[in-house]
């Protein structure tokens, strides 16, 4: 079945599977987006998902995060079958997603965006009766989250729209890192970023792994993938064509598998 034909870093190999998909099929009328795909994410690893346009990467991710319902197949979180009704269910289960369009309110400040939908209320009757937000604590925790990730920002009070593309991406990643309890999924987080900013975001992804979370990274950028991924899940025609590691395979090998010119 899975063609992991190479020795891997022992830590990753022995780590338990956090998120798993078995034979997931998704069809839209006559279009088969996922043709029975398997997926396996291990604790503490960065797993890149690569594949040609239309290979089914985004569909797979959406199926994993409850953003769509698979036609058939099974999804397991920590070995237990789950049925997410929507993205919120996945969030409650400890899965955070960084969407390609970032899902931020540009006019609100950084702390407000980090806590959007999960605002903290003041302690005591101020919070329980008067529903008062604990802005000070949200600000402090936002500051802490950004410095934990070693991500520098001009000021936490800035509106998100005043940030550069890379800084915004950083805030989106920090939000995921702040709330994720198990894993973070990112859909092309470095698309449209410059070299320096891409480097910053990759650094952020590494620090998320350092905190013990698993990361799924969808990317078209092969050098980035080889720079950062522990394993590479290659999609082709709605299936998993192979899972390889950057140590055992070259970029050319991966591209060949992606396009069907070779098998793993």
């Amino acid at each position: 079945m899975s063609d992991v034909n190479s020795p891997m870093a022992p830590a990753t190999l022995s780590a338990p599977v956090v998120l798993e998909a078995r034979n997931v099929i998704k069809t839209y009328g006559h279009v088969t987006a996922l043709a029975g795909v398997d997926f396996e994410l291990r604790a503490g690893e960065i797993l890149a998902v690569v594949g040609d346009n239309g290979a089914g990467k985004s569909t797979l991710i959406k199926a994993l995060t409850g953003a769509l319902h698979p036609t058939s197949g099974e999804i397991l979180l920590d070995g237990i079958p789950v049925h997410f009704k929507g993205p919120l269910d996945a969030r409650h289960a400890g899965i955070e997603t960084v969407y390609q369009d970032l899902a931020m309110a540009p006019a609100l400040d950084i702390a407000s965006n980090l806590f959007l939908g999960r605002e903290l209320r003041a302690p005591g009757i101020l919070g329980s009766v008067f529903r008062r937000l604990d802005k000070k604590r949200m600000r402090q925790e936002a500051q802490r989250a950004m410095s934990d990730l070693k991500f520098r920002l001009p000021s936490i009070d800035n509106a998100v729209e005043a940030l550069s593309g890379g800084q915004r991406q950083g805030v989106a990643v920090a939000r995921a890192a702040l709330f994720a309890r198990k894993l973070v999924i990112m859909d092309e987080p470095t698309a449209a970023l410059g070299v320096r900013e891409t480097g910053q975001v990759l650094e952020l992804i590494r620090s998320i792994r350092e905190r013990g979370l698993a990361v799924v990274l969808i990317s078209h950028n092969m050098p980035n993938v080889f720079d950062i991924a522990d394993r590479i899940h290659i999609m082709r025609l709605g299936r998993r064509a192979a899972v390889v590691t950057p140590k055992t395979h070259s970029m050319n090998d991966v591209v060949a598998i992606m396009t069907g010119a070779a098998t793993a």
């Binding site: 993205p87 919120l88 969030r91 969407y99 369009d101 970032l102 899902a103 931020m104 309110a105 540009p106 006019a107 609100l108 407000s112 959007l116 939908g117 999960r118 605002e119 209320r121 008067f130 529903r131 008062r132 937000l133 802005k135 000070k136 000021s155 009070d157 729209e161």
Partner: protein
């Protein structure tokens, strides 16, 4: 606050940015400019008596503009604001004149206004119809309904409870009606909701980026519904304040409420694109509209010209907003 945060250079910089970046500074300067012009051209303008009158004249537009602000912050617009308010005055007036208990009548009228807001909200959130069309439709329906209910004409409403908000108290030379105090109270309460609670945060988030709001788990439709419901409730309270000002229920009243309330909101710095602005600006905006109408009246200028100037003002304000958005 019990603890004091030591001010870091970072925090100082942001304080400076806050003062100059505050959207209410611009409107405040406009208000000041109008006051100076009117004060220089007419000595009566600055008399406490006249300033009291300006406040009293601002009450209704000021209150309606609170609801309008909430709606515009969600990137909507409410063209039924005056019609819903007039509906409240007609229902309360009609019921009292039929001999019903005044408190019950006013309560029922406010309830109907709230329901009107709720139905606008339902059409907008559930059927995803544009707010502009829904509220325009409601305006048309209510305009006809109001004529039918009131059999076409205005009628006097003489009841101490309905007129209660027109009672006055003195405050150092100023004569304030209870209506003025209720207006400030409403501004305080809604300001708190907008700025200090999750509900307010989510109003901004929805106006800013509804898709992001949905993805982070905000129940966008339910939230929109609560906004229009709240706006309806505020228009209902506005009806009570209107009866306190003029003990008269008139189906043809408040023809300029749309223009005035939208102008107040937009001059106050709230963006028609949603998600930016706030209530302090709206209060200043409402005062600008009030000062303008008062100053022009004092100068003996025909009310028609007041509408003309207000119209120009709203267009200039929107143009400025659009230009500043394009710059970003």
């Amino acid at each position: 606050m019990s603890t004091v945060i030591p001010s870091s250079p970072d925090r100082k910089a942001s304080l400076k940015a806050r003062i100059f970046g505050t959207p209410s500074v611009g409107p405040f300067l406009v208000l000041l400019a109008f006051c100076i012009i009117f004060a220089l051209t007419n000595p009566r303008f600055l008399a406490t008596h006249n300033l009291s009158i300006i406040l009293q004249q601002t009450v209704i537009i000021g209150v309606l503009a609170i609801g309008q602000t909430l709606v515009i912050l969600t990137a909507g617009i409410d063209l039924a604001v005056g019609a819903i308010c007039v509906l409240g005055t007609i229902i309360a007036g009609k019921m009292v004149n039929l001999g019903y208990d005044p408190v019950l009548s006013m309560g029922f009228a406010i309830l109907v206004c709230t329901a009107a807001g709720l139905s606008a909200g339902s059409l907008i959130s559930a059927l995803k119809l544009p707010p502009f069309i829904v509220t325009l439709g409601i305006l048309g329906i209510l305009t006809a309904a109001l004529r039918l209910i009131s059999s076409g004409g205005a009628f006097a409403v003489r009841d101490p409870f309905l007129a209660w908000t027109g009672n006055t108290m003195k405050l150092g030379g100023f004569v304030l009606t209870y209506g003025v105090l209720i207006m400030f109270l409403l501004y305080g309460v809604v300001w708190y909701l907008l700025n200090e609670t999750k509900w307010g945060r989510h109003v901004y988030a929805i106006g800013n980026n509804p898709e992001a709001a949905r993805l982070v788990g905000i129940p966008v439709r339910r939230h929109l519904l609560s906004v229009y419901l709240g706006a309806g409730l505020i228009y209902g309270i506005g009806a009570w304040l209107a009866l306190g000002r003029i003990p008269n229920a008139d189906p043809n009243a408040m023809q300029t409420a749309n223009l005035d309330s939208i102008t107040a909101v937009v001059i106050g710095g709230t963006s028609l694109f949603g998600g930016r602005g706030g209530l302090i600006g709206t209060l200043i905006g409402a005062l600008i509209v009030g000062v303008l109408r008062n100053g022009l009246t004092l100068a003996g200028i025909d009310p028609l010209w007041q509408d003309l100037v207000t119209g120009i003002l709203v267009i200039v304000a929107v143009a400025l907003d659009q230009m500043s958005r394009r710059k970003n």
